[in-house]
Symmetry: C2
Subunit: 519 residues, 2 copies
Amino acid sequence: MGKIAPTGILTSADEVGRPPLKIRFVNLDTGRENIAVISRRSQALRPDVFCGFSRIQIQCGDKLLLATLLITDDESLVGTNELGLATPAFRRMNEPENTLATVSPAPPPKSLDFVRSKIQGDILDAVEIAAIVDDLTNHRYSELEIAAFLVATARLMTASELLALTSSMVDAGTRLHWQKPMIVDKHCIGGIPGNRTSMIVVPIVAAHGLTMPKTSSRAITSPAGTADTMEVLAKVDIDTDHMKRVVDKCGACLIWGGHVNLSPADDILISVERVLGLDTIEQMVASIMSKKIAAGVTHLLVDIPVGSSSKVRTPTEALRLRKLFELVGDHFGIAVEVVTTEGRQPIGHGVGPLLEVHDVMSVLENRPDAPQDLREKSLNLAARLLEYDPALRGGTGYARALELLESGAALRKLQSIIAAQGEPPYAASLGHLQRDIVASKHGIVSNIDCLRINRIAHMAGAPIDKGAGIQIFKKIGEHVSPGDPLYRIFASEASGYDLALRASFEQNGFSIDDRPEPQ
Amino acid sequence: MGKIAPTGILTSADEVGRPPLKIRFVNLDTGRENIAVISRRSQALRPDVFCGFSRIQIQCGDKLLLATLLITDDESLVGTNELGLATPAFRRMNEPENTLATVSPAPPPKSLDFVRSKIQGDILDAVEIAAIVDDLTNHRYSELEIAAFLVATARLMTASELLALTSSMVDAGTRLHWQKPMIVDKHCIGGIPGNRTSMIVVPIVAAHGLTMPKTSSRAITSPAGTADTMEVLAKVDIDTDHMKRVVDKCGACLIWGGHVNLSPADDILISVERVLGLDTIEQMVASIMSKKIAAGVTHLLVDIPVGSSSKVRTPTEALRLRKLFELVGDHFGIAVEVVTTEGRQPIGHGVGPLLEVHDVMSVLENRPDAPQDLREKSLNLAARLLEYDPALRGGTGYARALELLESGAALRKLQSIIAAQGEPPYAASLGHLQRDIVASKHGIVSNIDCLRINRIAHMAGAPIDKGAGIQIFKKIGEHVSPGDPLYRIFASEASGYDLALRASFEQNGFSIDDRPEPQ
């Protein structure tokens, strides 16, 4: 090779046409991640060059989509002039196969610079946080970039960062407006098996005349969210228009939030938090409050169960969490009241959608076998919400809640909500694979591990299998003898049943204290 | 649904056989990530149940592999009784198609608990760090979990954590043993375009008689690593046995570290660091030192270029980095010397493998057009290494290095290393698409942005395309007039050429100061 001397301007190919590719559907469910596939022999780009880029940018008309690129040598899967899009990317692009698209390397989202400065210990301002939330919402972050943001903000989020995050998350989605002066809601931070109070509180409060448009989540790692349990009785998978009709008619609804697009960034963050098992309180507060502000809530009651296997383990943690809820509520002009409740053990008997419906209906029907803990907790929460009504005399909330429950008004309200939301998608039946888990010794139940009970019920198939889960027979303080059933596992399918049984044999979640009791 | 009363022990299906699946190859290059694909209608497991688990565990005989699960409805891709394995997973499983395998949900790696405590601010002990590195090395972490570990340790890593991380990373891979009292090496932390001193330093030092078994990396985001450039001249992709034969014969080698399995956890961490653009100094030191300790190095010279667009921007940062190298070196009994060097601009003329080879050979051949900066820097580094030789009189290292270079001994040594390593995989030729980037005004070159030059050369196709890159004509302090070529872009393929030109037109990386100079 000779010496290379300057020779002035050479022009070989100034503007290079990059041939477009034909979109092709690749039937692969890749979760939230946009995945594109090209042939290793593709003429439109040199895949090797893309090694250094984490993502590609796909342009199709005026639509732009970011995706992670995989490469194939199998031309029956994706040909050299094709661009394969896996299921979520194909759905988001929303163009027919064979539509032409061009592909170029995508620079990482600009807001990653702010994530990096947060990692180095900087405090982010509102503009920086808004840029991050915008990129998140528009699927410009890969999962590992989302993880970096979550971890970077996990150790320290200032009050101003928390407010900016909440505000940006609200702005990123739909915001509901109601023609009412007062919209009440309650939210439990979760973690307690069987804690299905909303399905009792909402009909009581709505029967009184307050407006309570409740959107709930589906369970992901737990055996049931309110939406999963309500779905045994009614359609919950409804959009904003249908939601408004239900609330106009009944003063309340009990639906899944997934189609209402409230704080969509939250759903994205939660999907990664779950994999990492991260649950930091600032992120929790931003998550919950962004959904409630977007839903147009004016008065919010937050239920924080405290117990050794609950999300919040000590009164000190509960107090810190309360302050954060109050901070955000005050900033956004929402009346927030925080109550701490018993979180040492499951509420009610059933854990899993169908089993929980059984508990809820037994309370609303005032049946003698109704679980008293679920009944009392629901009445107390409803009483707090009723006290928001200026027309109600102070201190009479509980009596009013009890009246609405005992008279059957709450039951009739739930039935009208069910009618307005529509039929459930399918009839659920209780799992036919059943086995009792029994005590191995004499003693007193001293502890029930909520995490373990949730995990076993989840393994049994709840909430996807509505009839799977756990029925609890013993609570803390009860005497047991060897062979006494502690709970029963229900499942419909062998694989989940097997998993749940094995987990239960290894560690059934009950602690039994066999020391002689002082009489 | 009636009330459910305890009924004692029911046994429906205690031990549930889960039918095995037949392994099938899915031609998808998924980078480092293990990806498995099953049919949505698979009988062997219920995919829905797996939503809550991030990963599955595949058992095949006594082999165990963790993978992320994707789901397909396309039974021509993966049938209901099949288990699809994408390219890296199939290669790692290393079993023929149709081998039977069973699949079960994989719990997240246990060591993630330690990552979570690090996120919360805890200091990890050596056992905890070893568990993390073990899980990393065995591909039990998904990319987002790796990101969480990197971010959690980015802000604070104590000295004891750094030592434990380095030690665990060494233990996780191969450790080389040499029958010599002294093994020397040099390492540059990188970032400076064209800085190809190793290919000059290694032959000088080996010609003197010291042993220098150099393993290098391939470039990922930069336009060339030493291994990429050396590959123009010789085979670099060689295993430990071949490496030992080369070193026995020549006293040195210049190979790619990829097949020698030194600190494999490092390669995994770096792949995610790169995507996140994270480059924290503790992680850098653990990365470099783990490779050097594993390689059996006893005397190490570390080159830290300092400049505004270099990895290390200030003398203060360089000092902090030096202390960390010394800490780790002292702990592991390695003599470490750290030098800071000029890092304001590229070294030599060429940026990209073939263009860099041109520079290296012109220095070794003592040609008058050889870049003086590359020659001087190489002589100085070689001099430092030669001073490790107890037989050499103190202060004569530079003279000895110069003698070995000027006599042609270093050139002959490189030629013997090339002969021992073997022929390069293919002959490289200079990119035929060429264009000069010119100055737009009179003035003096006041700054050259190393990051930008690297990025443009990378876009042009380097290092995959050996003949792509940049030839630099002007350096800091030189006078330029409008139209004077600053550098020339070389590329072989239109798409990369186009990208590089566009990037260069947007921002060419050169700052020209046109203020009147005080004479």
